[in-house]
């Protein structure tokens, strides 16, 4: 929910009950005031009638009007304790032929020696209409005020929050891999300026840390190269020793294999950080078909060994890409498809205007497909893969603006590169 809606909702939640209560209270206050006024008027009329009766010993004759009436009824004598009484009633207005509200005052009066129950009635229709009008006007002005407040609130908030949305927009485009620090437009409001400053400081800190980690990876890998090369070659020299017995030679060979593995790992990490650092930005037009064919021919021994059934459908395709990364991408995907294939399995390679697809039979990966591009995630335990191959593929795709789609379905592993994302 948007902040504006939220504040307006809260505003409504507070203001509506207040307005409603105020309206109800006002209505009753006015009602009581009108009653009081009418009752006073009735009391005055009573005094006038009593005076008239005292003087003439008969009821005044002029009294029957639309808005005021007088009713007289002989009273049973056993009701001597009858007292005056105010009450509400309705009477038919003969002109408009509808019931109208009246206030009634009943009181006893002795006329010509006979106790009579007198009722004087006063119409309250005008007063009530007036009250309704007042309430309506009040409600209208409340409503207008309310609408105006909401509208102003909306307009003001839109303007006031403008810097916030700008900041948000810039933050959306922020990547840790950005070469430049985050720059936010200065905001007039102190709160937003503080937010921007904090964000700038924070992102700069994070970005610097990230760069440092990347630099560290690159430096560490670089520094490891030489000792690794020395270890590898010294091991090979040791292996030349004629006096080695079989156990020693085998152990040395295992050490040498591990050293090679470490060197490869190191190479891959170095490659990854170089791709991330955008060190392969140079692009040129490259024919993909010969590249795929070359890499496939390179794998012939491995394909023959696994007795794979290879099916290719390669069309001519030129792509603007860094040639080293293109080679790495293709050879990684093809090597993976052969390495993780089953004996006697299938390998299908498609290349056309839009995509490059490598599909191979495989056992189900023991990690979710989406996680295989994470570094050191391995799809299977059987091979001693480095767990970096697909990370490199994913990184190359990101860096070169290619779409990568990995799926595993019905024992078929598919890697699909979309040339247009």
């Amino acid at each position: 929910m948007k902040l504006l809606r939220q504040t307006q909702r809260m505003f409504l939640r507070v203001v509506l009950p207040v307005f409603a209560t105020a309206g109800v209270v006002m209505y009753f206050v006015m009602y009581l005031a009108i009653m009081h006024e009418t009752d006073e008027k009735l009391a005055e009329t009573r005094v006038a009638i009593e005076d008239f009766v005292r003087a003439h010993d008969t009821l005044p004759a002029f009294f029957q009007r639309i808005d005021a009436r007088l009713e007289a009824r002989p009273m049973p004598s056993d009701l001597t304790d009858f007292r005056e009484k105010f009450s509400d009633t309705t009477l038919l207005n003969p002109l408009e032929n509808e019931e109208e509200p009246f206030r009634r005052l009943c009181f006893p009066l002795k006329i010509r020696g006979q106790w009579t129950q007198l009722s004087i009635l006063q119409s309250t229709v005008e007063q009530e209409e007036l009250a309704m009008l007042v309430i309506a006007l009040l409600a209208l002005s409340f409503g207008l005020l309310f609408g105006a407040i909401l509208w102003v609130n909306r307009a003001v908030s839109r303007k006031v929050w403008q810097p916030f949305y700008e900041t948000l927009e810039i933050m959306r485009g922020f990547r840790l891999t950005n070469q430049e620090p985050l720059r936010l437009a200065p905001a007039a409001a102190q709160e937003f300026q503080e937010l921007n400053t904090t964000l700038e400081t924070l992102t700069e800190q994070v970005r610097k840390d990230f760069q440092a980690v990347k630099k560290f990876t690159e430096n560490a890998s670089h520094e490891l190269q030489t000792p690794l090369a020395v270890i590898q070659n010294k091991l090979e020299m040791l292996l030349q020793d004629e006096t080695l017995n079989e156990t020693q030679a085998r152990q040395l060979a295992i050490v040498a294999q591990s050293a090679r593995r470490m060197a490869r790992l190191n190479q891959s990490l170095l490659l990854l950080s170089k791709i991330e650092n955008n060190q392969f930005s140079e692009r040129k037009k490259l024919e993909l078909k010969p590249l795929v064919e070359k890499k496939l021919a390179w794998l012939e021994d491995f394909i023959a060994e696994k007795q794979l059934v290879v099916h290719t459908d390669l069309r001519d395709k030129t792509l603007e890409i860094n040639s080293f990364l293109a080679e790495t991408l293709v050879s990684n995907l093809l090597a993976n498809a052969v390495k993780h294939n089953l004996v006697g399995g299938s390998l299908r390679i498609l290349l056309d205007e839009k995509k490059f697809v490598v599909e191979n039979s495989a056992t189900p990966p023991n990690a979710p497909v989406g996680e295989l591009t994470v570094r050191f995630a391995r799809g299977s335990q059987q091979t001693e893969g480095l767990g970096l191959g697909l990370s490199i593929v994913a990184e190359i795709c990101t860096q070169q603006g290619l779409g990568l789609n990995l799926t595993f379905e019905k024992n078929l592993w598919t890697a699909r590169i979309e040339f247009q994302k």
Binding site: N233, L239, Q240, L271, S331, K339
Partner: protein
């Protein structure tokens, strides 16, 4: 045969130097750009092994550029980082003859130097001879006791590699890296070497060749005529 080794890492330089001396070369070493540039321009070497990254105000590329101006025929092998693709291309454009990516195995360097030196000394007979085996690298043909022998390209490469590194235990991985190049990094399992070696050995034996190709404790092979 005189070789100039340009490499700034002392440990690695020492390892390479010792190895090459063991192979019978005269090796001089330069650890930074000024030394390398001076030696390369003053003395004549049969082969220069040039690391691209050098301290001292210039790179291996600069050394090659200066050298090629004076002696365009100089034999140069570039050593570059695996993914320093551009250095490699620039170096080859400047007239370098070959390149190796770090980290490399010394038998590989050895094979590259031998191949390069052979190509340089095209004047005379540069056939490779090992007892009854004779290889003509220009024609890529092999004969045993003067009878031609048919080999597949991989078997031929394998034989040449063994001949460049005789009497040395070559582990399967090293042989695989030689046959497959840098992309060998992609693979883990090099059992296919076994069938190529087996076929090569059988073809040689069928021609009455001595049994030179020997398996060493299941870790690799050694090409030798010593018992």
């Amino acid at each position: 045969m005189k070789i100039l080794l340009i490499e700034d890492e002392p440990d690695l330089a020492a390892t390479v130097r010792d190895f090459l001396r063991g192979e019978g070369y005269l090796v001089e070493h330069a650890a930074d750009f000024p030394t390398a540039d001076e030696k390369a321009s003053v003395y004549e070497y049969d082969c220069l092994i040039v690391d691209i990254n050098l301290p001292g105000g210039g790179s291996g590329i600069d050394v090659i550029r200066n050298l090629k101006k004076k002696r365009p025929w100089a034999a140069v092998i570039i050593v570059s980082a695996r993914n320093a693709f551009n250095d490699r291309i620039v170096g080859l454009d400047l007239g370098a003859d070959d390149y190796l990516t770090k980290p490399f195995y010394l038998p590989e360097l050895n094979a590259r130097i031998k191949a390069l030196l052979r190509r340089r000394h095209f004047g005379g007979n540069n056939d490779i001879i090992f007892n009854e085996i004779r290889v003509n690298p220009n024609e890529r043909n092999v004969s045993v006791s003067d009878v031609p022998l048919d080999l597949t390209p991989k078997e031929y490469d394998l034989l040449l590699y063994f001949l460049a590194n005789p009497n040395r235990v070559l582990r399967r991985e090293i042989i695989a890296e030689h046959l497959l190049g840098d992309d060998a990094d992609q693979m883990d399992d090099f059992n296919f070497i076994y069938s190529h070696v087996k076929n090569l050995r059988k073809k040689l034996l069928d021609r009455g060749c001595g049994d030179y190709l020997r398996a060493v404790y299941g870790i690799g092979y050694k090409f030798t005529d010593k018992t």
